[in-house]
Symmetry: C2
Subunit: 399 residues, 2 copies
């Protein structure tokens, strides 16, 4: 057979993270590359109890379910969302296979090839893959630690007439930045005035290190989901467990209905067994207390990683100290490409993601992303020693 | 907001089954419409034990997994497939969210808008939705109870130069027909000679009523997966439990790798918790014995439904007695549209799917599909009484 793949297949480049993980197979590599939560913190016994309660509910729990997802879980999530100021009902919500599927489904129902999507610079690489595979034209908007540059956003909206704008405003992947309230409200007004739909991706919002702080979602600045300019997606992957692949997406019911139709063709529905178990978990377990625990651990790991980085300032390395989330965003000295550093790092037994993967347009090659939530203290310390050795070697070669 | 959906969104028609289920909400309707397995036969205690064993494996079971799916389950399925004469390894296999996702993924990576896909007439409606949403041109090939008409297939291949041919040769949805070995081999040769990829959808193959019979898959007539003209998909939804949404797809490793890349963008991976539980189920439970039990029950239910239909022959009703699967395909008298009958049936408290939904081209309006696996004896008897009443009423109105 001579296989003739679709033209859009060419756009499906394998992600850099994936390629790096291939390099590390069979080697004893400490990886700061993936966005993995700390598995020793997973609520194992509560989760096991939740699954057992689902089995006590009877045989119906193993039957086909609704495309939109298990109703009691949708109701419970809607209640959680309302507590965060988001006015939403179960009918304005669809359960998905992680929030990744929400990005894919909205792209299917809203974007035609050639349509323009605005994104942050840098932005989540697996969203870029979805947009590019759809044949969309992806345009970056500049920004800083406070969020998107609203003047640049206004210019690009006027110039490109985008249909969609994709943002991750709270502890962004890859930078860890959190937007100010002004930028959130300003962007919402701008998009509403210009009929641009916002896709707000919020997988990390719960992982804020200062419990007293509040970062209202862009969606929460809308009165209600009906007619909303925002489609909001989040997930249990970072708060409960990734293996259950349960995310949700909410917005105007017309948009959600369209996405449900598309989902029916994609996979009929996601695992209702997992959805039922998460409903039981929410009912019988203090998830908010558990999230508080995770926050404390992740904050400690972030501080440890930045402490371990201090010794590398002499090489011209810069980084931010994020207020939440899972990632550090680092800047290498001008002229040092993260791809070059990675090759040496893998030799030394440590991995990360070069920043260039996260750019829709011209990348900054001297940037990189490091995850600090997965490795424990000893592993992180050893990994950072290896990273320092790699950096030292590469810098000495450059001189 | 004025939402501007994608042009392909127009192709996402909600399925007829779905619309019918809406009609039945809040009413006491007996539905022969859905393709639901008998939930009282689900292996509840074995499944619960399987989930508990996953939890004993440790925290890693709740972590992110591979896009391709849990390796031990892929190995176990490959072993099962080899016992059925299909020469495949785990690297030529991808786990999916039901076999529905396999149809969607292959369509994404193989089909561009305007490409031609050949299908049986009638065929699985949710496959038609995927193909139409992709902008493919879908062309029907005629056939009979033995399978596709190979002369018509050859003509259509010459005329339309299709890239893909989609078939469900064993207990087809909706007809329940099973193809002869000659047709399977003939079609394989034809497609191989003309570089047409075959997507063989086999969700029902295990549900054969005569255990002594053997219906080798089209895939099994290939020496090996490498270079194969066949991509084969099946699922645990009809043998273990639909709620776990675990299917698999196998074929040439180049095709499977492409589908894995597409899946990564769609949803990263399916529930590995469910995949691990199914692996434990395969290890600690006699699934083949369980399937044997299901076969017996379904055979009995099929016989009951056809017995109950006997009294309706006087209205000119015709049907087949399938050798396996979940569906009866019925022909109404010429001139009686199944849609008309359905309206009256819903009034009487019973539902089915009009056959027209299953046609890519000009439908036969006097056809319909009935599921016989979900209802128990009493429910089926009552449902068929209601169906008889509806048919009688509609016929009397026509005269």
């Amino acid at each position: 057979m001579n296989y003739t793949f679709s033209s859009t297949m060419q756009a499906f480049q394998s992600s850099a993270v994936r390629e790096i993980l291939k390099l590390t197979q069979g080697k004893s590599i400490i990886s700061f590359a993936g966005g993995l939560p700390a598995e020793e913190l997973f609520p194992m016994s509560a989760m096991q109890a939740a699954f057992n309660r689902v089995f006590e509910m009877g045989n119906h729990s193993l039957q086909y379910g609704l495309t939109e997802g298990f109703i009691p879980l949708r109701e419970a999530i809607a209640e959680r969302m309302r507590r965060k100021g988001m006015n939403v009902t179960k009918d304005e919500m669809l359960l998905t296979t992680g929030s990744q599927q929400a990005i894919d489904l909205l792209t299917r129902v809203y974007i035609d090839p050639g349509d323009v999507i605005l994104v942050q610079q840098p932005t989540y690489l697996a969203a870029l893959q979805v947009f590019q595979a759809r044949g969309a034209k992806v345009v970056s908007v500049s920004g800083d630690e406070e969020g998107m540059d609203l003047d640049d956003a206004a210019r690009k909206i006027a110039e490109y007439k985008p249909k969609l704008l994709y943002v991750c405003p709270t502890f962004s992947n890859p930078t860890g930045y959190v937007w100010s309230g002004e930028r959130r409200q300003g962007l919402l007004k701008l998009c509403r005035d210009n009929n641009v739909l916002i896709l707000e991706d919020d997988p990390y919002g719960e992982l804020k290190y200062d419990s007293g702080e509040s970062y209202p979602s862009i969606f929460s600045y809308e009165d209600k989901a009906e007619g909303s300019a925002v489609v909001y997606t989040s997930t249990f992957s970072k708060t409960a467990a990734p293996a259950l692949r349960t995310g949700w997406v909410m917005g105007d019911s017309e948009v959600i209905r369209s996405m449900a139709k598309a989902k029916q063709a994609c996979d009929l529905h996601s695992s209702t067994m997992d959805q039922m178990a998460l409903y039981q978990l929410l009912s019988g377990f203090d998830l908010d207390g558990h999230i508080e625990t995770i926050r404390g651990h992740y904050h400690g790991r972030m501080k440890l990683m930045t402490e371990l980085l201090e010794g590398l300032r002499k090489y011209g390395l810069k980084w931010n100290a994020p207020k939440g989330g899972m990632f550090l965003w680092l800047e290498l000295p001008e002229g040092l490409k993260a791809e070059e550093l990675l090759k040496e790092a893998v030799q030394q037994g440590v991995a990360f993601v070069p920043g260039s993967s996260f750019y829709a347009g011209e990348p900054k090659y001297n940037t990189m992303r490091m995850n600090f939530t997965h490795a424990d203290r000893d592993t992180m310390t050893l990994g950072m020693q290896r990273f320092a050795a790699a950096l030292e070697l590469v810098q000495s070669k450059q001189v």
